[in-house]
Symmetry: C2
Subunit: 262 residues, 2 copies
């Protein structure tokens, strides 16, 4: 089993990408809705939640962990790798690598939550991979609530997206990392406002591609994750009304969410 | 000591109103930022958090509890009154009573979070107090994130406020309850969009006025809360960057927030 966790349902964009690329491997998804959103919480808190989520997924039989949340990846992935023996995939490095590959002039924009931007992790990883490039980060705290309301196509959402992207346009970025698993749902609002020539990097898709490459090269790990006739399972630490419909709109099908106490 | 709790800093509008009306009584404020926002959480979760917050305030010496959060008041105030012996003040009944008094035609609007609106509690209380009136509720889930970003005066905020208030204008309400402690900060955006003739009821102020009336009539209780030379204290379960400045803008002075583990 693959274990995937996120603060809520946004990380389901990662789960969906994984099931498209690795349809034979079952996964367990955990959305920590009791503590959602993560983007406005402190580093200390996110480390505590991430360890608790990982323990839960391990207890359920996960053999690999995917942190399907940029805020948790930014603040807690180092700690999780120190504390646990199993492979830990985050949503940051794969996206940074792809951005470094695609960018013509090394002018790379990043949009994310406040926790993600404040961590400075994207900048550090980019520096390691492509030292001569430059990262322009922009915190966009209102985009998660807008997505969670389902306001994907509204005029107000487009205006707020334009406001957030304005400084990045001025910096003439050629590549933009969507540094939050909610943001792929806003692609249609983002692309015309940043400019069609700018490469858009979807951190959810890149994390899934990275996982696939890793498993293609490690047959033993692949086999350990294999569990025929096991269905994917979806757990949440709280369940309120709009969550079911957002989950359904991400997967394009209805998904059974089971509430558990953590 | 008076004990006041909220999901975060919004409830400080209640604390501020209390210190203006009852400057001689010290209070302890607890903002549960580790679980903020409450407005999107389930009833079950809010009951659990509310009991935990109350236990914390009791342990600190509180002799009366003010639930300075409409979402928690809506879902958990009955349970808290059953479970604890001390007086429990919520932000709902005082606002409903005021609205019932002021409304000419009994057409009363309510704006609040999804948890508050879904609870149906405002409607039930209004039915008890003024049976022939009618409540028109409107959930406004994006207003809390907009306030927390400090976007009080922005064009996007005004557009979103207009969109939320539009159905209430059509119902020709004569009175509007601000059923969330964050909303008084948006009064300037709300008043011109609902119409200047509509009475605006601020649930924070009404709760403080109710507390004052109660203490004016109960000298023993007043005396039990009295604690000369005791400063007000502010605790939070998580502390991230924008919280300090929002707290300062509510009180008009800088406030020391102490982080504790719950």
């Amino acid at each position: 089993m693959i274990g995937i966790f996120d603060s809520g349902v946004g990380g389901m964009t990662v789960a969906r990408a994984i099931e498209q690329l690795l349809p034979d491997l079952p996964y367990i998804y955990f959305g920590d809705l009791a503590h959602s959103p993560y983007g406005s919480k402190s580093r200390e808190m996110l480390i505590e939640y991430s360890c608790r989520n990982t323990d839960f997924l391990l207890a359920q039989g996960a053999k690999i962990i995917v942190i399907a949340c940029n805020s948790a990846s930014s603040t807690a992935s180092y700690i999780l790798r120190e504390r646990y023996q199993m492979p830990i995939i985050d949503v940051i490095s794969p996206a940074v690598r792809k951005a470094a590959d695609l960018s013509e002039h090394g002018r790379i924009g990043l949009i994310g939550t406040r926790a993600t931007v404040n961590s400075g992790v994207y900048g550090k990883r980019l520096e390691e991979i492509r030292p001569k490039s430059r990262l322009y980060p922009q915190a966009c705290p209102l985009l998660v609530p807008l997505v969670e309301e389902g306001w994907l196509d509204r005029r107000e959402t487009k205006m707020i997206v334009r406001k957030y992207l304005h400084p990045l346009r001025n910096k003439q970025i050629d590549t933009l990392i969507l540094g939050c698993t909610h943001y792929p749902l806003l692609k249609k609002a983002i692309i015309p406002r940043i400019g069609k020539r700018v490469h858009i990097i979807d951190s959810s898709v890149e994390a899934a591609l990275y996982l696939k490459t890793m498993l293609d090269q490690d047959t033993a790990l692949y086999e350990s994750l294999h569990a025929p006739d096991t269905a994917n399972r979806y757990y949440v630490s709280d369940l309120s009304s709009p969550v079911q419909s957002l989950a359904a709109s991400i997967f394009g099908r209805s998904v059974h969410l089971e509430k558990i106490n953590v």
